[in-house]
Symmetry: C2
Subunit: 315 residues, 2 copies
């Protein structure tokens, strides 16, 4: 068997949201803008810039509207935000974000503990968000993101059938896109192949993104399995910023630069200039000097064979 | 597509050889024996216990013959050693090792720099080793291990055709088994799928083992790709002991416990009790307190879903 997978893929940078919300340091707005500008210059075209949540809950992300406005000035940049509810969605719509992600946790226990809603209540909220979006004549896409898709630390197992049922419910409620997330790093490549293949069959072009954590070192192996299932968009955090609150020191999202390297080496076009992304990583790691960062490529550097293999030789 | 892969696989522990030869600490023979005993108790049945090289070159491994003798006392344990040449092979044969690995570097530049032989000279040495083994009436298997199979830090690119030509030459010279190694961490899952599929087609049952380094974080993704190609044996080091001399701080071999977790989670039977392996890791990490260790599972722990998923629930 020769490996078969798509010839291009998008790395959606979620470090500014998923990464920054999980750490202590509050990055000034100007540094966030510099990050967005440099990521754009390195070829990244989809960035989750923040979250429309009350500033008292996540003061790190209080400048989200300003960042959406900034991102919209960069031609071709697709700016996403996270919204936990209708109120957040109204902020996202007003900001002109290209896409808003509504998280749903397939684990009932995790959903109640973290979102203070049942999964069904989140589905109902998505229907309200869709109505509000349409009433506003807004073009902001709605992505329903099904988290804890491979289990969770509270209830343990989450049935794949339940994950797919909720994904279908999100589509039925009006989500334009759906995604699956391994929120706590429980997935393995076999589980990923099975679940994502089924999800792709259900959602087709409306299947949007795979979100993998590297808590147990399987982040990139899981991406590879999802890629083989036809998934062409993956969330990642520069320097793997964030981490797992349940395992101090363990990494959170896969590192953008490592993912860009894997895909580039495989000949999967991401449009990313890795040398520039590594330079940005160095800059951001200076801003976050007190935080534990992750990733491997920054230390080892690109292989001598990289440019030849991928055609991504960069200055 | 649903992921297809073998239902069982062997993790060959190479920490006592590949790991210990790469670090400063010299582990006393009694600790090595305790390691072998505990690895055996955790279910590991193939262990590379050392290398037959002059003690002045690798004093860390001077006790290899004693360790082979010790390993042979454990029922069903398959003991491997590395041998760089005929003299080493004579030591391995005399020790009664089950298998001796002769490393060959497919990169001409790397071969001359590290083995002080051309690849062709290594092939010729394998023929002499085979003759000596047969003349001695020994049952010690000969494994030809083709390293730098995905490129090297000296010459860069290594052509897959050249790798496979040398693998065939090793078989023709009398190697009973052949393996491929990504010595410097240049492989990616696409390259692995292509090369290992071709190698399996050539060597069939005589294809023995995949050896991956995690230098750029792709070790487990590469294992998954090789597993899909039908490979059922992988080298790994407990705690990822070792590291890459070309990238200080970067990891070397994939960590045995992380690999055992990935395979176990996928339902691939390795016979390993991960809880015991993690306990051994803790013990060994105490012996190697001054060394940089690797791996992720030891920090995050097994998922709540693990036992149910794999049937490997352990006391």
């Amino acid at each position: 068997m020769t490996a078969r997978y798509p010839c291009s893929a998008v790395i959606r940078e979620v470090g500014l949201r998923d990464g920054l919300q999980s750490i202590q340091t509050i990055l000034p707005t100007e540094q966030k803008k510099a990050w967005i500008r440099a990521a754009y210059a390195a070829g990244q075209r989809e960035i989750e810039v923040g979250s429309f949540v009350p500033a008292r809950l996540l003061p790190q992300l209080a400048d989200t509207a300003e960042l959406v406005a900034f991102a919209r000035e960069l031609p071709g940049l697709f700016a996403s935000v996270l919204v936990p509810n209708l109120r957040g969605a109204e902020g996202a719509i007003a900001s002109g974000a290209d896409l808003m992600i509504v998280p749903l946790s397939a684990s009932h226990a995790h959903s109640v503990a973290n979102l203070r809603k049942t999964p069904e209540e989140v589905v109902a909220e998505v229907a309200r968000i869709r109505a509000a979006r349409d009433a506003a004549g807004s073009k902001t896409l709605i992505e329903g993101g099904v988290g804890t898709a491979f289990g969770c630390t509270l209830q343990g197992r989450v049935e794949p059938d339940e994950v797919l049922r909720l994904m279908q419910a999100l589509l039925d409620a009006g989500a334009d896109r759906v995604s699956l997330a391994d929120t706590v790093g429980y997935a393995d490549p076999g589980l990923v192949a099975d679940l994502f293949t089924r999800a792709m069959a259900i959602a087709g072009d409306r299947f949007w993104c795979g979100h993998f954590h590297d808590t147990r070192g399987l982040g990139l192996a899981n991406v590879f399995a999802a890629l083989q299932a036809g998934v062409t968009r993956f969330d990642a955090c520069l320097a793997g910023i964030g981490g797992c609150p349940h395992a101090p020191g363990a990494s959170g999202n896969v590192a953008s630069e490592d993912l860009a390297y894997m895909l580039g080496s495989m000949g999967v076009d991401t449009g990313i200039d890795i040398t520039r992304l590594l330079a940005l990583r160095e800059q951001v790691s200076g801003w976050l000097a007190s935080e534990t960062l992750h990733g491997t490529l920054w230390r080892a550097g690109l292989p001598k064979t990289y440019a030849a293999a991928s055609g991504h030789a960069t200055a």
